[in-house]
Point group: none
Chain length 197, copies 4
DNA sequence: CATGAATGAGCGTTCATTCAT
DNA sequence: TATGAATGAACGCTCATTCAT
């Protein structure tokens, strides 16, 4: 238990990842130097390069973590045993809540993806696509069932909603007039209202 | 007319601004070097610094241009002589069209704002705020008239729509299945449907 | 009378020289840009290069002016009709007063001489040498007459006094406890006392 | 002993400091480029910035070294067990000798201090002040004892002497007619003679 | 006489990464 | 495992000077 930890007992890789996440969100990927990350994590450069192949790998790990989390939650809501309106509403609200809860990761996600090398970028986009499609399937299911209007292509509906989710990191403030849940409910409500036949 | 131009006759400052816009959108602000900008514009560094105080000034100019354009267009639609639904629908569709028409500027706008120094950032945010508020006033006008639902605070409605506009640069492709106008109409339609009482 | 002047009627070359003198003294030769000089003088770069061949020429002109002035004054005191102690005392005090009165020029003189090109440097050193030698001749005259001690070589005596003159720009402040004349009298007194047989 | 050295075995920071000292003295601080320093030291720029935060830090280090040395020596002479005339004479001569022995450092000191940032400048001035005051205390001690004339304020006496010390780098040449010690003795003698009651 | 756009070389500094220990 | 000295390429920016007008 004395290995790869320091003082607080958190393993070095986690400490590095946490420091990198905070700094990338604060100042952006390019403006964060490896030196700053290792100082914030309380280790040396050698240690970082022992656990991560490059600065970019660190960024990819941040992505991988948030992508995994969001996909799991979406799957849980989407596959639940409930009417389609309810499942879509809950999934739509949940992505808002988890995005707010991980606003740092979200900022990085929407602002730093183009810093990944083409291959890694492609991989992230693919996972992102899977997420998008599971969400779209919900919309289409409701459209086929006649519960949702088919006036707008499902793809566009999904992008409409995700746009507002991405946008959260631009305007949401924890000390604002609305709680996370209220924001989530409102945004889910707007989506469902737009889909009324 | 032989002043400050070269070969094609376009003034040097414009050439620099155009080159910077394209490059900032392509690879991001931090990843674009001053050297690349001046090479793309066919001038030397000295010329750039003759017209612009810094690389950051170049970025601010890009912002200033697009902010001015969008504000003008919004004002025109918002102050038109037509029913409120119509005015909101047209304004909502128009911001989509002009964003697509200037997708480079838009990408820069939503991804590089945090690269501006605090003071310049503040100024841009202020102008942005003015735009947001003009749009919000339209929503509130409809809500007061009972034409739009008041279920969702107008602020949130505006952010919902603008989120999808920002998101355009992430997914819109000119060679996609929908034309600019179709995308604009769909997105405006989603907004109006969500606002039905 | 409307030529080469501006507003205040001072000829452009003088205005440039005055601006350069102030700025060179304030921030040093290398840290003063040609742009700053022309702005301070209220003219453009072209005007500067019309009257002066280079930035260095400006510096040389500053030197030439102060050298001429000091040489003239020394000659006047040295060739006066008075006992040698009196003539040396007055010359020694006068160089202190004129140095304090032109503290800017003096700072430049003692700090920026090595910025001149070899040829110009040589010329300035030569004129400086002439000044030194006229002063030394006074000391030697007194030594030969037995009025001054010969314990120290005259050269060294001169450097001893000039050292304190150069040093003035380091510590003299107009709002200090001593007036210019008091400082001058004290320093001349120290010299004369050191020379007592 | 194989760490941070190269070829000759001298540690890199020392090599950099030595190269910088020589070059700053030769051509002045502003005229010496970082590139020239690292080339003279046989390392790369990265190495310099590994050990020193900036070019200015290098200059400050030169100052710190000479200030420390001179203060130590002055303290030793001033606190010795000997009559006041003897202690002042020896201290006055010693500062001349050590200045000549480190003429490079001295040139830099008297010509480049204004290149330091305000904060660092202040620090250097403070240490310099301490030195000045220890020296002044010696003069005052002799004045109170009636051994030295009180005709001139002690402050001015100190500045008179230090002026000649600063001036050394302007005229002293190792191949001149006088040895270091002879120059030192003469200058100390002039000071003591000037202080005779 | 005077302008100011433009040059081009050089500046101090940063930084991801490597590697001997 | 982990260190930290060192690299080397690139970065944003400055500036004395030139020259067509």
């Amino acid at each position: 238990m004395a290995k790869a930890t320091d003082g607080d007992g958190t393993p070095v890789p986690q400490r590095l990842l946490a420091a990198a996440t905070r700094l990338f969100a604060e100042r952006g990927y390019d403006r964060t130097s490896v030196q700053e990350i290792v100082e914030a994590a309380g280790v040396t450069k050698g240690a970082l390069y022992h656990y991560f192949g490059s600065k970019e790998d660190l960024l990819q790990e941040v992505y991988a973590r948030v992508l995994r989390l969001q996909q799991e939650r979406l799957d849980a809501y989407a596959n639940a045993d409930a009417p389609i309106e309810e499942r879509l509403r809950e999934a739509a609200a949940d992505v808002v809540v988890t995005t707010i809860e991980n606003l740092d990761d979200a900022s990085i996600f929407f602002r730093s993806m183009h810093h990944l090398s083409p291959e890694k970028n492609k991989q992230v986009r693919m996972e992102r696509r899977r997420y998008h499609e599971r969400f779209r399937a919900l919309v289409e299911e409701g459209q086929r069932a006649g519960v949702f209007s088919s006036a707008t292509p499902a793809d566009l509906v999904v992008d409409y909603h995700f746009g507002s989710v991405h946008h959260l990191s631009t305007w949401y403030r924890p000390d604002g007039p609305l709680t996370q849940q209220e924001v989530a409910d409102h945004l889910a409500d707007l989506l469902l209202r737009a889909l009324r036949p």
